[in-house]
């Protein structure tokens, strides 16, 4: 369990998203450049006034010195410039690293920017190969596991241990799609039913194609600075109240527990730093790469008891009109999933809701949001708790 000790001192003052879904007209590097500039403008700053950049590499356009290449493209020489890779967890780990770097005096304000184009700049086969290469090269990959297969193993274990059903996993996809249907940018907007999920194409039992997140293009960026410097920003600053990490293993075959993840640790640390509990959270933005991952996070982050994630989802509490709105942009299941940047859109959606800019899907009184990201196969976890109060 780690605790950053930065809670309440740093704020998100800028954000940007590119077009998402199928975006063939810009490369991942170009998308990353675009959202970097737009996030800085959104913060009311110029690039010269921002002195740090943290990025994540792109599968579809790998660059050895990625952050440096993005800065160079912009003719920018930031004081702090680094590429981070912890898979899907890179997102919020990078946000926390930005706050830590500012705390250490390495920069005054930092852009965290990520983009990838798994849909338009890779073939389906390439996207599948690069993602499944997270498996152990000697003790997993030779057997031919896919990423859905890894989550199929997790799903089956949860079904066996707690009696969770395929219909309960499907509820996660149905809920996310209901939210996506209200978002004009979402990649998939047609409302679906549990029956639709259950009868969709089998991918890796018990998972069907509608249990799996999308393959997308897109990028997003946020700007972080000290809270006492945030008052000049044109938009309401969103405070980083708490952050935590948990790291249990890398390969799923080395997991000692298939149904409880290190999200327990990341959540506990984030709640402790924020001085909050799950009951205090008004908006949930969880990592829905596959429906069972989302269900297990609900349990591990304390929104329901262990084994009761299926009942929680089936109650409808996460859907539009429910008391615990979840993935209100549609998540990676329905909004977009361009690979490692996926969770950034959960963060930008939380900021959009807290700013009051969410249009038709705007929720009343979002004072706190919990954003969760994970890397590997439920391996490394990052939990970020945001506050909207000044």
């Amino acid at each position: 369990m780690t605790k950053s000790g930065l809670g309440g001192k740093y704020a998100l003052i800028g954000m940007a998203e590119s077009d998402v879904g199928i975006v063939p007209n810009k490369s991942p590097r170009e998308l990353c450049v675009q959202v970097t500039l737009e996030a800085v403008r959104d913060a009311g700053l110029t690039l010269e006034e921002v002195d740090g950049l943290i990025t994540c590499n792109a599968f579809a356009e790998p660059i050895m010195y990625h952050a440096e290449a993005v800065a160079e493209y912009l003719g920018w020489e930031p004081r702090h410039c680094v590429t981070v890779n912890t898979g899907g967890g890179t997102t919020f780990m990078a946000v926390n690293m930005a706050a830590a770097a500012i705390e250490a005096g390495m920069a005054d304000s930092i852009v965290v920017a990520m983009a990838d184009s798994l849909r338009s700049f890779m073939t389906r086969e390439q996207a599948m190969a690069v993602q499944s290469s997270s498996g152990h090269p000697h003790y997993e990959q030779p057997y031919g596991p896919t990423v859905p297969a890894y989550y199929g193993l997790i799903a089956r274990a949860h079904m066996h241990q707690f009696g969770t059903t395929e219909a309960q996993f499907a509820e996660a996809a149905v809920s996310c799609r209901a939210w996506a249907s209200q978002h004009p940018k979402a990649q998939m907007r047609d409302v679906i039913s549990v029956e639709d999920v259950l009868t969709s194409r089998a991918i890796a039992d018990p998972l069907k194609v509608l249990d799996c997140s999308l393959v997308s293009d897109g990028g997003a960026a946020v700007v972080i600075t000290r809270k006492d410097r945030a008052s000049d920003a044109p938009h309401k600053p969103i405070t980083l109240l708490g952050y935590g990490e948990g790291h249990a293993y890398e390969h799923i075959s080395q997991a000692t527990d298939l149904t409880t993840s290190a999200a327990v640790h990341s959540g506990r640390a984030a709640y402790a730093e924020a001085g909050l509990t799950a009951d205090d959270i008004s908006l949930l933005q969880l990592y829905d790469c596959f429906t069972p991952a989302l269900l297990i996070q609900l349990e591990d982050l304390g929104f329901c008891a262990k084994g009761e994630g299926g009942d929680w989802l089936t109650s409808g509490i996460s859907r539009p009109g429910g008391a615990k709105p979840l993935n209100t942009h549609g998540g990676m299941l329905s909004y977009c999933h361009p690979g490692n940047p996926g969770a950034m859109f959960g963060l930008t959606e939380a900021m959009t809701q807290m700013r009051g800019d969410a249009g038709a899907r705007q929720l009343p009184d979002i004072s706190t949001a919990l954003c969760h990201a994970q890397g590997g196969i439920m391996s490394s976890h990052a939990t970020l708790i945001l506050g909207a109060e000044d």
Binding site: E125, M128, A129, S132, H136, P137, H138, Y139, E140, Q141, P142, Y143, G144, P145, T146, P148, A149, G152, L153, I154, A155, R156, A157, H160, R201, A202, I203, A204, D205, P206, L207, I252, S253, Q254, L258
Partner: protein, 138 residues
Amino acid sequence: MAKPTPRPTPTEQPFYDACKNNELALQHCRDCSHVLFYPRTHCDQCHSENLVWQQASGQGSIASYTVVRRGVSADFEAPYIIALIDLAEGPRMMSQIVDTEPEALAVGLSVNVDFAAWSEDITLPVFRLHPALSEDSL
């Protein structure tokens, strides 16, 4: 693209040498008695380097399984069964369960190791449902 095939390190070579002889070998820690998988230079419990190879029973049980309906590449003909096997000696390993109908599978069922040639040099452990079970379950 070919099937991914291990290129063993010197540390790992005894595991693959044993597989080639249709034996499953596991490292045992002489200091803390922990049984390791995958092969390592150090015990992953006490970090001792005092490890010794011993032949395993080849028996285990299914911790979880999935039927891959869309193969990872053209080199893998779907459907095939990926499973996590809890070995009788303690460690868990990923493998395939072969020659079994998916309907016969369940978490907790007993399996026995078998071996399959993956390339000219590499033989890998795979698993089969315990003979008595595969008859009962069908």
